[in-house]
């Protein structure tokens, strides 16, 4: 039995769980059973694929089931790339299931979540395994469908139904784009297997069209600007562990689709394709994090920051394309490794952060940061892991987010060797964009953590908050540990990724574990190197040293007193900085061009008792530029055409008559 069969059995088990969940959904024990099952299955598959990735890196095993499109069957394949993404998927799935064991009890209608959760996991696994266009698209859309059902779980809220609607429409838009892309790759013969596509040599035009369509299809699922509009609506609407899966894992599955087609099936890329992907990535990164900064809904903030990270990933992918097109395999391997590393990292800390948000939600019933604050006192453990997540996602050493960011920068520094001037000049500029987005991300998560967990409670809901259950905490701590591990031992991950880059680019980064002191060296030590472990150790040592010296020699005296605050006795917590006011300086700097933000201050004349007013209007430029015209046009057309429903019979006859006459005229004038 080939190895690929094992994860397929896992998928079958998940689907079985879904069906069983339909049956037992009403029962109280259902939550435990379902999430327990999914946890077990994901864990097993995780172990299998990890073993595969480490044990037999170059191994490729395929199987064809008598399902799907009749004459080719449903083909599945397990290679390094799919193994890596299976790892991401099932790791996220296992964590989410563990979290769900506790979180699921707060679910008002478990019958609307339990069946679809395993189905969602199964769908994501299948996408990664599929080896022909039909099974790929089927699982892709099945994944969207299951997640849609999960978004609609709390269907009584108006916003959620709207979110679900926009989500599914965008999803099927993406699917149609992918469908067209595969139609091009399959060609006239209708050879829908990936193997056949891999063998075929598409023309320049076809390649260009496929790239565009993939950017539309995979991009809309991953959340590339301007196709991201559904993401910040849908991800927060779902239950938090599902939000974690959607943000942390499903977007990665979309990235997988992009890599699979562009790097694997399409053959040699053109150099300008790098330019397109690169610029889109940079734009997405900056815009996404700016949106996040203006957000005051915690889960939506996280969703927007997902967009930013997707931008970073795609920028690295663009670099990899550019290098690959110019036959610079080592640099391409570096860029691709950076992208994949970031995929892994983001799945870690974004899931962690969404879990934290879910914990806050269950403890306080609030997602609006303006009503939170001071939770660090009531939920110390949650706030600690959330802090870890914030530090990681802000790309600060010694955590994992920094490593992938650093690798991306190292890849950018290879740009001078690129022959095309366009790329030479553009790559550093995009690097600047990435740096900007990283800095803004730090600002954003200072805000997220500071407003939510620090300061004084802004509402009564917070007063009665208390720490969440142990399952949720276990899940969060596990992810936090992974964030730190991947940060201080990046060499392990990089070497683990080498088979993927080998299979896609034919080259790999130098073996990292061979380096002294476990430091990572992309090209050569004289050029650049980073050692997360040592940085971590040094900080730990010097901090504890300082602490030791202080406590040894300095005074221990400590007195609690009211806050100083320059002598202002501000009693009310409302006087604290809010999420909006925190973002105000940045809004003033970037908002004017990114959001056409306007501020109006109405200052009453001296002596007048009227209060001064500050009005801020912010536009969602993307929505107003791309989507409003479309909806407007459709509304107009339907309005006009709708009259055809209300004609008299005579007019309908006239239609038929005229149609007949036109056809006859055509015949009469036919040469």
């Amino acid at each position: 039995m080939s190895v690929v069969a094992l994860p397929l059995w896992g998928v079958a088990a998940l689907l079985g769980t879904a069906i069983a969940a339909v049956a037992i959904g009403r029962r109280g024990s259902a939550t435990q059973l379902v999430y327990g099952a999914t946890l077990a299955i994901s864990a097993v598959v995780l172990v299998i694929v990890t073993g595969e990735l480490v044990g037999d890196p170059a191994g490729v095993s395929a199987v064809t089931l008598p399902l799907g499109l009749p004459w080719i069957g449903a083909q599945f394949r397990l290679d390094a790339l799919s193994a890596f993404f299976l790892l991401v998927v099932n790791l996220g799935g296992a964590a989410a299931s563990l979290y769900g064991l506790g979180y699921g009890h707060h679910e008002p209608a478990p019958g609307r979540v339990l069946p679809f959760f395993p189905a969602f996991l199964a769908g994501m696994n299948l996408v990664v395994l599929a080896n022909d266009a039909f099974s790929f698209l089927l699982s892709w859309e099945f994944m969207s469908l299951a997640s849609w059902a999960l978004v609609m779980a709390h269907h009584r809220e108006q916003d959620n139904t709207r979110a679900g609607y926009i989500y599914l429409v965008m999803a099927s838009f993406g699917t149609l784009a992918l469908l067209l892309a595969f139609g091009l790759l399959a060609g006239l013969g209708g050879t829908y297997t990936f193997d056949a596509m891999r063998a075929a040599e598409p023309s320049q035009f076809v390649a260009a069209a496929v790239l565009g369509l993939m950017l539309l299809g995979a991009g809309s699922k991953a959340g590339l600007v301007p196709l991201h509009v559904w993401l910040p609506l849908a991800h927060p609407a779902a239950p938090s562990h599902v939000s974690a899966l959607m943000s942390g894992v499903m977007t990665k599955v979309a990235v997988y689709g992009f890599i699979r087609v562009i790097f694997d099936l399409l053959g040699e890329p053109a150099w300008w394709s790098g330019v397109v992907v690169l610029s889109l990535g940079g734009l997405t990164a900056v815009l996404g994090i700016l949106y996040a900064l203006l957000e005051k809904d915690l889960k939506r903030l996280l969703a927007y920051s997902t967009i930013e990270n997707i931008g970073v990933i795609f920028a690295s992918l663009g670099l990899a394309l550019a290098f690959k097109a110019n036959a610079m395999p080592s640099a391409a391997a570096l860029a691709l490794t950076a992208a994949l590393f970031h995929v892994l990292n983001h799945s870690f800390f974004k899931s962690l952060l969404f879990f934290g948000a879910g914990a806050v939600l269950t403890a306080t019933g609030e997602r609006d940061m303006e009503k939170l604050g001071g939770l660090i006192h009531r939920m110390p453990l949650t706030s600690f892991v959330f802090l870890v997540g914030c530090v990681s996602i802000s790309a600060l050493p010694p955590f994992n987010g920094f490593v992938s960011e650093w690798l991306a920068f190292q890849a950018i520094l290879q740009s001078p060797d690129l022959p095309q001037w366009g790329l030479k000049v553009m790559v550093p500029a995009v690097g600047g964009l990435l740096a900007l987005s990283a800095a803004l991300a730090a600002a954003c998560f200072v805000k997220a953590f500071g407003i939510t967990f620090l300061g004084r409670p802004r509402s009564a809901a917070v007063e009665h908050a208390h720490e969440v259950d142990r399952y949720s905490l276990a899940a969060m701590f596990a992810l936090a540990a992974l964030c730190l591990l991947a940060g201080i031992l990046p060499g392990l991950v990089i070497d683990g990724l080498s088979p993927v880059t080998l299979s896609l680019i034919g080259n790999r980064m130098p073996v990292q574990l061979a380096q002294p002191w476990l430091s990572i060296v992309p090209i050569g030590e004289s050029r650049s190197s980073y050692n997360g472990l040592l940085v971590f150790v040094f900080i730990a040592i010097s901090a504890s040293l300082a602490a030791f010296v202080i406590h040894r020699f300095a005074s221990h005296a400590l007195r609690r007193g009211p806050a100083w605050g320059c002598g202002f006795p501000d009693i009310t917590p409302a006087a604290q900085y809010t999420a909006v006011s925190f973002a105000q300086p940045i809004r003033r700097v970037f908002g004017t061009f990114a959001f056409r933000a306007r501020e109006r201050v109405e200052m009453p004349p001296p002596g007048a008792t009227a209060p001064a007013r500050l009005d801020v209007e912010v536009h969602d430029v993307v929505w107003e530029t791309f989507y409003q015209p479309i909806t407007g046009a459709i509304g107009f057309a339907t309005e006009k055409l709708n009259h055809l429903q209300f004609l008299t019979i005579r007019r309908y006859l006239t239609l038929v008559f005229l149609f007949l006459v036109t056809l006859l005229l055509v015949l009469a004038l036919w040469p």
Partner: protein, 483 residues
């Protein structure tokens, strides 16, 4: 064995005819309903026996070949399930007093007459006979649409009747023209109307006559397929008639007319100098698709909504057959079968919904998945299926249509995809309103069996992930016939 299998064909025709006569005579409605179901079931069995038994030689009037056997089996199957559904539905109508016992007798008799007409249309080897049969089926449905005698029902039936009979006339003229084209070659007499003869000789027919004939036939039968701009009767007929009839209209009658169009398309394709029927069908298909997609947005009556979606899907099917080629034809056939099953299932669900909520207004129906989970989720599955999402059957056919089209004529695929997306948006919008949100209206339980509904959906689901090999080879063979 020939003898027996000919009996099968005869049974397909005679059982409904006899049942119709009996039903017309029977007073008691419970018995009539039961007999209706029984007769439909027997017809289904007879149709299935066509698979196992050897085919009869095509005669002057009757014919069984790979093409129409697909239609026959589908027809009798949906006819059977619909009769089961209609038994419970009609009972409810009797309770609420919208229909009286005499109405029902008439209704059931007409139901069997209609089945007879449709089966005859499929098995007839004679274009004249086929025409008669199609018109018979049409006129019976006209009478059934008007059965409620409300203003709306009457108006719908009247509209259907006028437009339908114009269609009748045009189709007849087309048939005559075909005869005129054939007569010099084949010689006078019945032979010049026998399908099997015509298709062999078609190459030598007068192309100019054939062209005109095809235009008239396309309009005549196209009116019943419901292609824009000939569709006007369809939405109202679906919305105002009894729901079982809506199911039959969408699920079966449209296929009958489509079958007619296909037959003549073959004839035209067989004659080299005649204009290619493909472009015409592609144009009409795209027009119907996009037009219906736009019309879906402003619908307030749930049955009319799905009627328009039928127009949309007929557009897709005609488009596929117009494109031609093994892939597209395969997709067209598959799509037709899947659409019949799904759409009738949807109408079953809608019938129950309308009965329990006491309204067809979309705005008055909310949160079905909460108030009536069985019904609501069935509707969700049905709409998801009809919108072409996996893992349900229509996804496969749409996959094949779109991808094969894009490989051949990219610029035809763009409007196609546009229409699909547009229709999807509209359907999903309405579904979200109906199935989710705060429940509204009565929450009384439905005392009817969901078996027909869910059996259809189960079939569609199964076909979406697994098509049995014999069926596939069968379809492929038919696709090759269709060229």
């Amino acid at each position: 064995m020939t003898g027996f299998s000919f009996d099968a064909v005869a049974a397909i025709l005679l059982i409904p005819a006899g049942a119709a006569a009996l039903l017309a005579a029977m007073p008691n409605y419970k018995m009539t309903a039961g007999l209706n179901v029984a007769a439909s079931f027997l017809t289904l069995l007879a149709a299935l026996s066509l698979f196992v038994t050897e085919r009869p030689q095509p005669g002057q009037y009757l014919l069984v070949d790979d093409l129409n056997i697909v239609f026959i089996v589908l027809n009798t199957f949906v006819g059977f399930t619909t009769s089961v559904f209609s038994a419970s539905y009609i009972a409810h109508e009797l309770e609420t007093g919208r229909l009286t016992a005499p109405n029902l007798r008439f209704y059931h008799a007409m139901y069997q007459v209609m089945m007879f007409g449709m089966n005859l249309a499929f098995v007839s080897n004679n274009i004249g006979l086929m025409w008669v049969a199609v018109e018979l089926a049409t006129l019976t449905t006209v009478l059934m649409v008007g059965i409620y005698r409300t203003h709306e029902a009457l108006e719908a039936a009247w509209k259907y009747f006028i437009l339908g009979s114009v269609g009748i006339a045009l189709a007849l003229f087309g048939t005559i023209l075909v005869y005129m084209a054939a007569q010099p070659v084949v010689g006078e007499g019945t032979n010049a109307m026998v399908w099997t003869v015509l298709i062999q000789q078609a190459a030598r027919f007068d192309p100019a006559l054939l062209n005109v004939a095809f235009v008239f036939l396309l309009l005549g039968y196209g009116t019943k397929v419901g292609l824009a701009p000939l569709h006007a009767w369809l939405p109202d007929a679906h919305a105002e008639g009894p729901t079982p009839i809506s199911a039959v209209l969408s699920g079966l009658l449209l296929n009958v007319a489509l079958y007619g169009v296909l037959r003549f398309k073959l004839l035209l394709a067989a004659s080299p100098e005649a204009i290619a029927p493909g472009p015409l069908m592609v144009t009409m298909g795209l027009t119907s698709l996009i037009f219906a997609a736009f019309m879906l947005y402003r619908r307030r009556d749930i049955k009319r909504l799905f009627a328009y979606s039928s127009i949309e899907h007929m557009g897709i099917i005609v488009f596929a057959f117009g494109m031609g080629g093994p892939l597209a034809n395969f997709a067209g056939l598959l799509h037709m079968v899947m659409h019949s099953l799904t759409k009738s299932a949807i109408f079953f669900a809608v019938g129950h919904i309308a009965q329990v909520k006491g309204t067809q207004k979309i705005a008055d129906i909310r949160g079905l998945t909460e108030s009536h989970p069985g019904l609501g989720w069935a509707l969700v599955i049905g709409v998801v299926a009809i919108a072409g999402l996996p893992p349900l059957g229509i996804f496969m056919s749409e996959f094949l249509v779109v991808s094969s089209t894009f490989a051949r004529h990219p610029f035809l695929a763009i409007p196609l995809v546009f229409g699909l997306l547009l229709a999807f948006g509209a359907l999903l919008l309405r579904l979200t309103g109906v199935a989710f949100g705060e429940p509204r209206g009565s929450t009384a339980p439905v005392e009817a069996s969901y078996v027909p509904m869910y059996s259809h959906l189960a079939l569609v689901f199964a076909a979406g992930i697994y098509l049995p090999a014999p069926l596939v080879s069968w379809f492929q063979h038919v696709a090759d016939i269709l060229g």
